[in-house]
């Protein structure tokens, strides 16, 4: 398992440690994520899947356990170093899109690059928007875009720094069925191009688009299985009648 991008060993996250209201959000979870994988982390709400994703995504540190990302033991890094790791190696997509309002698509996508050492940030942001099929929406504001389009802007933002892994926390949670499949289709395409993607979801039909499904319940890992025949979101899209106003590109 030397080509593992992420090696998580005995990860435990406890909130209010020592207090009577102690909460074990994640308990003794070990898993590896290999470069190029498309993984779903599944679980009911409150199961600890988001907490686990936050730890895998270096947004949070485990209470105990070791977390290695790309040969770096990130569980020992400080806030500033973690920020640098996120900036360089990780991309995030959130359920609520989390785009900056009154900021156009291009500037939203540029955001991670502002904190990087890269130059030509506008050109890179343009390319990322092109990749997600929003070339003609570059100067639109979030309020002028549909939910699916906003999430694609968010994916472009996650892509723009050319990360090792993209983490998506319930990326389809706020979208209709058609937009959800569009997003999953986009993820599948990106994965085919070699991107490592981790999607957190509670919906089985979303998880079924991935190659590997990890189930979490009460903070524990209860199942980790291959999905040898992932559904193709692109095929499914063909069976859904196109709604008016929905764009057909992609």
């Amino acid at each position: 398992m030397n080509n593992a991008l992420i090696q998580a060993k005995n990860i435990t996250k406890i909130y209010n440690k020592g207090a009577s209201a102690e909460v074990k959000a994640v308990y003794d979870v070990s898993l590896d994520i290999i470069k190029g994988e498309f993984v779903a982390i599944m679980g009911a709400s409150g199961s600890g899947k988001s907490t686990l994703m936050n730890i895998l995504g270096c947004l949070d540190r485990p209470t105990s356990g070791v977390m290695v990302l790309d040969d770096t033991e990130v569980s020992r890094l400080g806030d500033e170093e973690l920020a640098r790791v996120r900036n360089k190696k990780l991309g995030f997509v959130f359920q609520m899109f989390n785009l900056l309002s009154r900021t156009n698509a291009l500037e939203n996508v540029e955001l991670p690059l502002i904190y990087s050492d890269r130059s030509n940030i506008t050109r890179l942001a343009r390319q990322a928007l092109e990749t997600v099929g929003l070339k003609d929406r570059i100067s639109h504001y979030p309020g002028e875009l549909s939910g699916g389009e906003q999430q694609r802007v968010a994916i472009a933002r996650a892509l723009v720094n050319d990360p090792e892994i993209i983490f998506a926390d319930e990326p389809t949670g706020n979208l209709d069925t058609r937009s959800s499949y569009e997003i999953m289709s986009l993820f599948q395409r990106l994965n085919k191009q070699g991107r490592t993607i981790v999607v957190v979801t509670h919906e089985t039909n979303i998880a079924e688009h991935t190659e590997r499904i990890i189930r979490i319940a009460d903070g524990r890992l209860i199942e980790d299985k291959r999905n040898p025949h992932p559904k193709s979101a692109g095929e499914e899209l063909k069976n859904i009648p196109s709604e008016e106003g929905d764009n057909e590109n992609k």
């Binding site: 920020a83 640098r84 900056l100 904190y115 720094n161």
Partner: protein, 405 residues
């Protein structure tokens, strides 16, 4: 490269919330307007003082008749009559560093009559040395001459105010004016001098020969004062001391007894005028400072509210890799940009206000780069201080915490 991007972020954020930025700015604008007005008035007052002191001459000192225990200018009627013409001559002969001196006496509130017109002015008895010592000569006709002194001539040189009051468009030279029951032939008109350091009109005067004044007008044998012009301003303190000891000797004042004369240097005059203006300025600066502090509190408050409003934005920035210092910098820059912009606006409005103030009142003002510097510095400082706590709070937010909706 990165820094300029961060600056761009701060300004964009401000532009996105114009109302909030405007509200933050307004307190600073008012504070800086107040400060600008105060500073320009303060500098103006100082400039006026310097001008007036300059009129007196920085290389000159005054010897007045009478002890100097009370502050303020001695009046024309001296309570102590002990400064004599001999004293003036002794000073000139015995003290080195004196270029020239001008003994004089004066009498205020004299009715001056020309034909059917009259005015009230101060009469000065002077010698020809008055002109070089005060750097103040007749602009038309002639000043008092040695010959006038010797023969106790009944001639007069009038100041501009007196000329206007009595003669209007008429050429006064050769005309006769009457003081009491003595007729004087007008032989000259003085150069215009304006207001004295004490605020009196230095052009409302009539100059006559000192000898004529002492014998025929006032019937006295003493002087009101002697203006002494030094060869160099550097010797001021030394010469002042020498004058003092010579005068004490001549007036036979025992050690430990107070002087019966006063030596006043321009530094003292300046100090007096400045201390009056200074007290006033300190008061005004405090008022301006208080309004700036109030403006800063407003900025700080709105920034704090904005931090909790923008938890998501901050969390997102951190999630995509913003470090503490980036967030700190952005928020500090936002508050500083607001106050600096407010400051610039305040300076512009303050300068406009100063101009209006000049039009409406006679207040002396002075607009200079110092105002811009003080305004910019203060607004920058207020912005940094006001933004510090909100910025620290923002930068301390955890990315996960802030993303939670």
């Amino acid at each position: 490269m990165k820094t300029s991007r961060l600056i761009g972020v701060a300004f964009k954020q401000l532009g996105k919330n114009k109302l909030r930025s405007f509200l933050m700015m307004i307190g600073i604008v008012i504070g800086i307007i107040a400060l600008t007005l105060v500073v320009s008035a303060g500098l103006g007052a100082q400039k006026r003082i310097m001008e007036r002191v300059g009129k007196f001459g920085l290389d000159s000192l005054m010897v007045f008749s009478g002890g100097g225990r009370e502050m303020g200018r001695p009046t024309g009627e001296q309570p102590v009559a002990n400064l004599k013409t001999d004293d003036a001559e002794a000073l000139k002969q015995e003290i080195k560093g004196i270029e020239e001196l001008a003994p004089f006496n004066r009498k205020s509130q004299n009715e001056i009559i020309f034909q059917d017109r009259s005015t009230v002015a101060t009469i000065f008895g002077v010698t020809p040395s008055w002109a070089p010592v005060w750097d103040w000569d007749a602009r038309e006709g002639d000043f008092i001459s040695e010959e006038d002194i010797d023969r106790l001539a009944r001639v007069a040189v009038v100041g501009e105010t007196v000329r206007q009051e009595l003669f209007g468009n008429l050429n006064p030279i050769g005309e006769f004016i009457r003081v009491g029951n003595i007729q004087f032939e007008v032989k000259g008109i003085m150069q215009i001098k304006g207001t004295s350091p004490g605020g009196g009109d230095m052009d409302n005067r009539v100059y006559i020969p000192l000898t004529t004044f002492m014998r025929r007008v006032a019937n006295v044998d003493y002087l009101a004062g002697i203006k002494v012009r030094l060869e160099s301003h550097k010797d001021m303190d030394k010469v002042a001391q020498e004058i003092q000891s010579l005068m004490r000797e001549r007036h036979r004042i025992a050690a430990g007894m107070p002087d019966d004369f006063t030596v006043r240097t321009p530094d003292e005059v300046k100090e007096m005028a400045e201390s009056v203006a200074g007290t006033f300025n300190i008061l005004l600066i405090i008022i301006a400072g208080v309004s700036l502090i109030a403006g800063g509190v407003v900025v700080s408050n709105i920034m704090l509210i904005s931090v909790s409003e923008r938890r998501k934005e901050i969390g997102l920035r951190k999630a995509v890799g913003a470090q503490r210092k980036h967030i700190l910098f952005q928020f500090l820059l936002e508050s500083t940009a607001v106050t600096l912009t407010g400051g610039a606006l305040g300076i512009v409005l303050g300068v406009l206000g100063t101009r209006i103030m000049v039009l409406l009142t006679d207040m002396p003002t002075s607009i200079s780069w110092e105002i811009v510097a003080v305004g910019a510095f203060c607004s920058c400082l207020v912005g940094m201080i006001a933004g510090l706590q909100p910025a620290r709070r923002a930068s301390a937010l955890q990315p996960t915490e802030a993303l939670r909706s």
